[in-house]
Amino acid sequence: MPETPILAHSGVLIASIQSALSDSEILSLRSQLLARISHKSVRGVVIDVSALDVLDSFATRTLNELASGARLRGAQTVVVGIQPDVALSMVLLGLTLRDAETALDLDAALGLLESAAGRRDG
């Protein structure tokens, strides 16, 4: 299974999940992202989950852990591309991404992070 590539661009880490991830792969992605946040000045993390057809309790919990860990380092997390069917399942299961923002796509996520930075600096 291909590892999730992580790109860095102007203080934003972008992780684009390529295919279904096992629990250990999700944990590994979380650890890699948190490690990179600690080593560099990162203001935002964007995770593209559009390739995922299931976001269950474990995946949601792990994304929340990532987002709250990132927040403690001053970085905001945006989850993008949650599929409509996945969103419905999450609602019915009562799963929420309370520590992360969400956006429809990468552009919207970067816009969110820009406006957050603007508010902070301005």
Partner: protein
Amino acid sequence: MADLRSSLRVTIARDADVVAARQRGRAVAAEVGLSRPDQALLATAISELARNVVNYAGRGEALIEAVSQVGRRGVLVTVSDNGPGIDNIEAALSDGFSTGGSLGLGLPGARRIVDEFDIESKPGEGVRVRILKWA
């Protein structure tokens, strides 16, 4: 629960098998004619149940069956193991228990998103959960 048509067995022994089980379940659900949202719900329920097998029993299986009953079709999934079992099924099924984060077996959630759900477990004799979703 319903007449048996065809079946597929997936061994669950490590976390990659959780992904395989839910993907197989979803594929059968698509063949049977479940809507896309229902396919996602079934796959998510399988994911929760299969993870419990890996985490608490170490090894088990998912039996995925296309079933039909008086003109309607559905998918029956039986997830079973020979692990330690669940001491207090009622507690494991209660919502408060899992949202407290301590037990968190995902059972109340899984039950909520399928049409039929039953669980059998005796301490020391494993767990068998059957879920069914109609098209």
